[in-house]
């Protein structure tokens, strides 16, 4: 097989900006460059652009335009949702209780950790071996003073999809609010907030073939939050700072395209995903699929290859032009195995050998065939030089 130039299977880390998206946003850099707050035609033009983007997105989310707060990333949106509620209480001299779960993105977990340090109470729910929370445990954890429950829609490492609708029902029955981090879900899953029942929802641009440094928070209009970033009062006071007009226009376009193609693309990608999983499981011994087999993002594959360490495999694959991650992009900075896999009860050794293959709009069967071939070769070599692997027997447990 001819070696392809590059196979990108790290779409969950970030996506290239779509041509149509860039094209729509481009005039807002140097021509229609006004400040939306300026009281002249250039300002009005910019203001109209962001208000129109807001309406287009509101249509996708099935909410009102004013319920969308544009901000600078998925991480900021998450911080705004959680701290926005915490700070509202803080200004009243109060604290309160938050609930989340152990496989959330760092944006949720580190925010909760910090709130804990300044006196809030946090419950981190457990997950089962597939990464799903226990709805009974959730129900029991909600207290009188629970301000917010934050549970992600779909996990970025293992792709597990949480039952947001049921979770929302529990939250509402017990009189609390639900925030959901939908950054990974936006390309393939339903974003209708009315159907989902989420009171707050986070989306970002970098995962939907749009701009890095863009994101939004959907917030039901009855909910009061304190701003995280104070200033000129943009975004109805919830997020000050000159609006990123091209980024906002781009986000609207990207979410629209995602919405139009969602059904078809989810089907195509799911088929590729399942083909890939099936072949790997058949052709590479002791390859363990991490995450839920069906309640899973269409584009996520996550395997642990026993007896080898993930970074080495990623770098060998990179040398063949295949771009992969061990899971959360951030984890490459740390030596600890993925907190997601650990929370799912996967032992450290296996967790160290996990690789995420995240598929995207350019992914083809041919690409995956090439990847599988190389994967077999590299896994075999790394196991050969691995002191913990015994051919035909797998990993020696000591």
């Amino acid at each position: 097989m001819k070696k392809p130039k590059e196979i990108y299977l790290d779409y969950s880390a970030t996506t290239p900006v779509r041509e149509e998206v860039l094209k729509e946003a481009l005039p807002y850099f140097s021509e229609k460059f006004g400040n939306p707050s300026s009281f002249h035609s250039r300002g009005l033009e910019a203001k109209n652009a962001i208000e129109s983007a807001r309406k287009r997105i509101a249509k996708i989310l099935n909410c009102e335009a004013e319920e969308i707060i544009f901000c600078g990333s998925g991480t900021e949106s998450i911080n705004l949702a959680i701290k926005g509620i915490a700070f509202r209480e803080l200004a009243k001299g109060k604290r309160g209780h938050f609930i989340t779960q152990k496989t959330e993105h760092e944006a949720v977990l580190k925010t909760m950790d910090w709130l804990k340090r300044i006196g809030f109470e946090i419950t981190y729910l457990n997950v089962d071996e597939n990464g799903l929370i226990d709805l009974g445990e959730l129900t029991r954890s909600i207290k009188e003073d629970t301000l917010l429950v934050s549970i992600m829609y779909a996990n970025n490492e293992v792709g597990t999809i949480q039952p947001i609708k049921e979770i929302a029902e529990i939250c509402h029955k017990k009189n609390t609010l639900l925030h959901t981090d939908a950054c990974q879900a936006s390309e393939y899953l339903d974003l209708n907030v009315k159907k989902l029942g989420a009171d707050l929802m986070t989306l970002n641009g970098s995962k939907v073939y749009s701009f890095k440094g863009t994101g939004l928070l959907y917030k039901r209009k009855e909910i009061e939050i304190e701003a995280l970033i104070h200033g000129g009062g943009q975004e109805s006071g919830a997020r000050s700072g000159t609006e990123n007009v091209p980024g906002i226009v781009a986000l609207a376009k990207a979410l629209e395209i995602a919405e139009w193609e969602k059904k078809k693309e989810a089907k195509r990608i799911t088929a590729l995903r399942d083909y890939f999983i099936k072949r790997v499981e058949k052709e590479i011994p002791k390859a363990k699929l991490n995450g839920h087999r069906t309640k899973r993002l269409p584009n996520n594959v996550n395997f642990s290859f026993e007896g080898i360490e993930g970074e080495s495999l990623i770098l060998y694959m990179n040398e063949e032009g295949v771009r992969l991650s061990t899971g959360s992009a951030c984890s490459s900075k740390s030596l600890d195995p993925s907190h997601v896999l650990t929370a799912m009860g996967i032992d450290h050794g296996t967790a160290h050998g996990s690789i995420r293959f995240s598929l995207g709009k350019e992914t083809t069967k041919k690409e995956l065939d090439f990847v599988i071939g190389k994967l077999k070769e590299k896994v075999e070599f790394l196991r050969r030089i691995s002191p913990v692997w015994k051919k035909g027997k797998g990993v020696r447990k000591k």
Partner: protein
């Protein structure tokens, strides 16, 4: 040491030794006649290293290894195996003095979070030398009996 703005994640030497590791153990038959064995690290931390050495006339004539770990761990053991066997083999007293720092320097540096990998390399070697010396003294004890 900082490695930034380069065309790879590690130094050129790390890359070479990672992509084409030297002296790794392909088959247990290869270490027939080797007289020292050491192992260090654990799966929890993500690094395990095994090292086999063959000592003759006080020098390390052969060195084989197996490593479970990241690129810098693999490169560390690979370069270490070269260091101790080159130029007719290192004297074991000198081999005992090898530090993680020396391995790291020879590798052209490692990112801060990976420095421990180089330390693991010299630990495995030390274990192997200890094992060799123990075996030797065992032999002597036997001979002396």
């Amino acid at each position: 040491m900082k490695v930034e703005g380069q065309d790879w994640f590690y130094s050129k030497t790390v890359k070479e030794h990672f992509m084409k590791p030297k002296n790794f153990l392909n088959d247990l038959k290869e270490v027939k006649g080797f007289n020292g064995y050491g192992k260090t690290g654990n799966m929890k931390c993500g690094d395990v290293m095994e090292m086999w050495i063959k000592v003759a006339d006080g020098r390390i004539k052969g060195c084989k290894w197996r490593t479970f770990g990241c690129a810098s761990a693999i490169a560390s053991t690979s370069i270490l195996s070269e260091m101790v066997t080159e130029k007719g083999g290192m004297k074991i007293e000198d081999a005992l003095k090898i530090t993680g720092k020396e391995i790291m320097e020879r590798l052209g540096g490692l990112p801060a979070v990976k420095v421990h990998c180089s330390v693991l390399g010299d630990q495995a070697l030390r274990e192997a030398i200890k094992d060799y010396e123990k075996k030797q003294s065992n032999k002597k004890t036997k001979q002396n009996k």
